[in-house]
């Protein structure tokens, strides 16, 4: 076969896709399968290098459900995820609508806000840990200056507040992403629809409810599912700011899984949590893919 015919044959397409597919299969597919296997084994530091480990059936899962931490972590994860998704969406939508108004430098200023999403998560964790410090943190100083609080607030050390603290930081991180995707959705709505509605006497509020929101629906679905799975990545922020503490008050499932594996060296337990989370993430991911494909058929 001549070189040219080889390059035009179907083989080349298979090779082109195959390289990336093989890479992902070996380094994502295999770990996920392996994780499932580990979740029904007893995996300790001692038997880590070997392949033959004691099979324990569903014991890892049973232990997790019986763990007194389970309910607390589940509650934290739920609160953290719902609060993040809801507040990021509302603030992101507000900012997207504001910067969509025509005024000088609107896209430049919107771009400035997007910087937050580009920063390394560890830096964001560091900055917010510094801002929320109880003694010399700016947030306490500002709240005292405004007369809203009298004493110090121990944002990161108080078990009642640590989850609030990491939620605030993660909202700060996620708002620009919400803003920019909603801005793209808004830009895709034809302006003549608004003009026609205005001629028919629809005010701004009614236009928003009856035109903007329905036409934005595919974007909103995609965004809500994406933000849900991205809050699972809040690990970096939480690990930096509170390490899941104090007393596990800001512990969520990914942090719990990680600490089980890398601090308690109970890799089977860590794998069991990860398996359950993978299932959850994949369900949400499929919702995301469906909403994207509904918007733009392939």
């Amino acid at each position: 076969m001549s070189r040219d015919r080889f390059l035009d044959s179907p083989t080349i397409w298979v090779l082109l896709i195959g390289a990336a597919a093989l890479f992902l299969l070996l380094l994502v597919g295999y770990p996920i399968a392996y994780n499932l296997v580990m979740s029904v084994q007893e995996v300790t530091l001692g038997n880590l290098p070997s392949f033959s480990r004691p099979w324990v059936g569903l014991q890892n899962y049973r232990q997790l459900l019986a763990d007194p931490l389970f309910l607390l972590v589940a509650k934290n994860t739920l609160i953290f995820t719902v609060a993040n998704v809801a507040v990021q969406f509302v603030l992101g939508l507000g900012l997207a609508l504001y910067f969509q108004l025509s005024f000088p430098a609107s896209s430049f200023l919107r771009g400035l806000v997007l910087v937050g999403w580009m920063l390394p998560p560890l830096v964001i964790g560091a900055v917010w840990k510094w801002l929320l410090g109880s003694d010399s943190g700016f947030v306490n100083y500002a709240l005292q200056g405004l007369g809203l609080i009298s004493g110090k607030i121990y944002w990161l050390a108080d078990p009642l507040l640590s989850l609030v603290a990491v939620t605030i930081a993660n909202i700060w991180f996620g708002v620009p992403f919400n803003m920019i995707l909603l801005a793209a959705g808004l830009a895709g709505i034809p302006t003549d629809i608004y003009e026609a509605a205005a001629l028919d006497g629809a005010g701004p509020v009614r236009r928003f409810i009856w035109i903007t929101l329905p036409l934005l629906r595919p974007t909103i679905y995609a965004l809500l599912s994406l933000t849900t799975v991205y809050t699972m990545r809040a690990f970096d922020l939480i690990y930096t700011m509170t390490h899941g503490g104090p007393l596990d008050s800001s512990n969520i499932f990914p942090v719990w899984s990680y600490r089980m594996s890398f601090e308690l060296f109970d890799f089977g337990g860590g794998a069991a949590i990860a398996t359950a989370m993978f299932a959850l993430v994949l369900v949400v991911a499929l919702a995301y893919v469906r909403s994207v494909n509904a918007e733009r058929p392939m």
């Binding site: 070189r3 040219d4 390059l7 082109l16 896709i17 990336a20 597919a21 992902l24 380094l27 994502v28 295999y30 392996y34 580990m38 880590l48 108004l101 005024f103 000088p104 430098a105 609107s106 200023l109 919107r110 400035l112 806000v113 937050g116 580009m118 920063l119 390394p120 998560p121 560890l122 830096v123 964001i124 560091a126 900055v127 917010w128 510094w130 100083y141 700060w172 995707l181 799975v229 991205y230 699972m232 690990f235 970096d236 930096t240 942090v255 899984s257 990680y258 890398f262 890799f267 860590g270 794998a271 949590i273 990860a274 993978f278 993430v281 991911a285 499929l286 994207v292 733009r296 392939m298």
Partner: protein, 287 residues
């Protein structure tokens, strides 16, 4: 008695020419409030010890000093962290672009049930969180003796960015009319020559956006280096930063100076590419 609203109408009419500028002022306030944490980090890093921890913080450094910056480079070996970050992030970007180019091009040009299914699978892989993947990855890398190498971190981080790169580059290629390549091939140009001379240059903007976003994501990656390596000399910036602030005790002067140094390249890169990144991000995530 005047008609209700007439006074308001008058004010509104008088303000009408000012409206865009009032909105701009509002936008400036929003951006300033949002970016305040970044400002606070930078000016805090320029403060010396008593001022840094003052009960009444100063809104700008009254006695700015670079002492913390000099200290972290001289004594904390921050240069090595940055060098490791550069090695890892550039390697991840290169490996990702090589693997993504072929797959993205093929997935853009061939439309069958199987390629559509692959795109769906890749989109699902894109959202898998590293803190969950790292447990099996650590065990696997440990079994094949790759733990404690930057190579392991490069491979692991590439899994995080490759799906995203494929999806975004596929969008770029799909926008380039296949007729351009076919015209070249009618003139006797082999497909891969047509790809390098026609398609690739036309996808330039997509490549700029994808490579900078991939670089930024790799640069910020924390979980993989933290878990897959324990030699301090191999660690990139995020793990170095964590060593300053992780525990109950935080070394704030050094942490803030290092955070500022570490974030500087990100902000410079973003400022140069802002407009392209914004348009690329919106195209890639939803198409």
């Amino acid at each position: 008695m005047s008609r209700p609203g007439s006074a308001g109408d008058g004010v509104r009419r008088a303000l009408a020419p000012l409206r865009p500028w009032l909105l701009t002022a509002g936008g400036v306030v929003i951006a300033a409030v949002y970016l305040f944490p970044v400002y606070w980090m930078v000016i805090s890093s320029l403060k010396a010890n008593p001022e840094l921890f003052a009960a009444t913080p100063t809104l700008y450094p009254h006695a700015p000093t670079l002492a913390a910056f000099r200290w972290i480079f001289a004594r904390e070996n921050v240069g090595l962290y940055l060098q490791n970050s550069a090695i890892i992030s550039f390697s991840v970007t290169a490996l990702t672009l090589v693997l993504a180019t072929g797959a993205a091009y093929a997935l853009a040009r061939i439309r069958t049930f199987w390629t559509a299914a692959m795109v769906v699978a890749i989109m699902a892989v894109q959202v898998l969180p590293p803190p969950l993947l790292v447990t099996p990855m650590f065990v696997i890398f440990r079994q094949i003796g790759l733990v404690n190498t930057q190579f392991a971190v490069i491979l692991a981080t590439t899994t995080k960015v490759l799906p995203f790169a494929i999806i975004m580059l596929r969008t770029s290629f799909a926008q380039i009319p296949v007729e351009l390549e076919e015209a070249a091939r009618v003139d006797g140009c082999p497909r891969f020559v047509a790809f390098f001379h026609i398609t690739l240059p036309l996808a330039r903007t997509g490549y700029i956006v994808v490579s900078s976003l991939v670089f930024l994501l790799a640069y910020g990656e924390f979980v993989y280096p933290l878990s897959l390596m324990n030699h301090k000399d191999l660690q990139p910036g995020p793990v170095g930063l964590y060593s300053f602030i992780g525990a109950d005790f935080a070394d704030w002067p050094d942490a803030l100076a290092f955070a500022t140094v570490f974030v500087a390249p990100v902000i410079v890169l973003y400022m140069f590419l802002q407009r392209r990144i914004v348009s690329g991000l919106t195209a890639g995530a939803l198409k």
